[in-house]
């Protein structure tokens, strides 16, 4: 009953969780053809679904689920960073990504600590203030650098049939749609005195559904010849 009430109140947020199943199902179908980067994407989708369902469960029972989101941020960044690490040809950029992942994880944990004076108070747990913004800026940077590498090196035959391009497009849409909204999560996602932004709060779910659709295209286009950089 609690679930149905939640779905009725937040249909878009509920649909965004269920929609993760689309790329995940395609990932399961195409799993044999997936390269390392896409396997990381599948891991992300599995974790995203698990976290999403658990958050859905907690939200339906009116319990604070922000801790899950906070812990998921460094994991998400690590997995996306890993995807770029496997796809970039430039050794220098790969090295930068590697160090960025190493640096981001403690930064995100520190941000959780800094944003929550009392970590044991899970009821009033708050979203990290900066980690998601930094994550967005870095992922947008990786995507733009990857686009630059694609058009500069011409390593891809037809970009419309190149799976990782669609994943990058999905990431770009997701993080571009959220980068100016993430700073306000700290104020909107709290039990008391929260900032009410109305329909603007649905933006993250809309961009998430769009990005999941683009991930699905990318996974569907995966074929054995696309596992290698040259396609």
């Amino acid at each position: 009953m609690a679930y149905l009430t939640y779905i009725e109140r937040y249909p878009l947020a509920s649909f965004a969780v269920v929609f993760i199943l689309a790329p995940l199902l395609l990932g399961w179908i195409r799993y044999a053809h997936l390269g390392d980067a896409f396997r990381l994407l599948v891991v992300f989708l599995i974790l995203d679904l698990a976290v999403g369902l658990f958050m859905f469960h907690l939200a339906a029972h009116r319990a604070n689920n922000i801790l899950l989101l906070n812990l998921f941020v460094p994991i998400r960044f690590t997995l996306f960073g890993g995807m770029f690490y496997y796809n970039f040809r430039s050794a220098a950029i790969r090295r930068v990504i590697f160090y960025a992942i190493i640096a981001f994880v403690p930064f995100a944990l520190l941000d959780i600590y800094a944003s929550n004076r009392n970590l044991s108070d899970l009821h009033n747990h708050l979203v990290g203030r900066y980690s998601q913004v930094v994550e967005s800026a870095l992922i947008i940077l990786w995507v733009m650098l990857y686009f630059y590498e694609i058009i500069n090196t011409m390593k891809v035959g037809n970009i419309l049939t190149y799976p990782f391009f669609w994943v990058c497009a999905g990431l770009l849409i997701f993080y571009s749609g959220n980068i100016f909204y993430f700073p306000f999560w700290y104020y909107t996602n709290r039990w008391e005195n929260n900032l009410q932004l109305g329909w603007v709060e649905d933006i993250p779910y809309i961009v998430e559904i769009i990005s999941l659709s683009l991930f699905s295209i990318g996974i569907w286009l995966t074929r054995p010849q696309h596992d290698s950089i040259q396609s």
């Binding site: 891809v156 037809n158 571009s176």
Partner: protein, 304 residues
Amino acid sequence: MTAFNPEQVRFAILIATSVMLMMASFAIIFVIYYQQRRLEQEKKLRDVEKNYQKMLLETALHSEESERRRIAQDLHDDIGTMLSLTKLSLNQLVKLLYNDSPHLSATSPDSSYLNSPRAELTLNKAQSLVEETIIHVRRITRDLVPTTLDQFGLVAAIEEFILRMGESYALSVQFHCDSDDIPRQSPRVELALYRIMQELVNNAIKHANCDEIVITLHLAQGKIELQVTDNGKGFDPATVQTSDQAGLGLRNIESRLSVINGVVNYQKPGIRGSQALIQIPVDPQRSTKPEPLHPFRRTTGIRG
């Protein structure tokens, strides 16, 4: 909390997010457009390069054939004529020495020497050597320029080639063809197919250690198919083609095929042997009427 006016924040987020999403969409569309455009340009460049390579190859093959014709003509006109004259002179000499010997003076100091069996043997040996050389020159000339191909077409040329193979090698060469089905092709196509067949048969003899070769020529689905099968030790085309030393013959075949838009497919017919299947698109029908006999007809500009 109260520092934020929800209306202002909503408006700011909306504007900023819209701008960001527009920029992201623009970046995605730009990458697609730019990459496709560069791809098209590269494709055009590759086509130009490919055409240029094809033209170079065609010119090289044409030059090779012209040179073969020139050498064949020189062999036939100069060396062949001189050898025939030498043979004639030797015959006359024999006639002079032995048939007309009563006219020779018995007191001549050389008469006993010329009438000796050793001199006769040497003359006969010279005669047979000249005859053998004439046969060799004719064979080389025919190998250099397959005149039958020009006059009677591919089927006749292959039949003649097999006939000559039978004279030189102790192996069974079979040729299966329904000649009525095969239309005459342009000279360059027929010549390319003939040279490829020659290369494949020579490869089978030289490298495969075979005792049977089967050549088939037929028409299938608008394509001329030439198949050369042997029962030799077989080979792995991938290994041979990537090898630096070996595979020159196979590369030669592929070069010739690229000029006439043909393809080659190598297979292993059984435990032993190898099979090469050549497929080329059929050109518009060429007159089947035999051309006038010009054994070493020059193409314009062969001899500068």
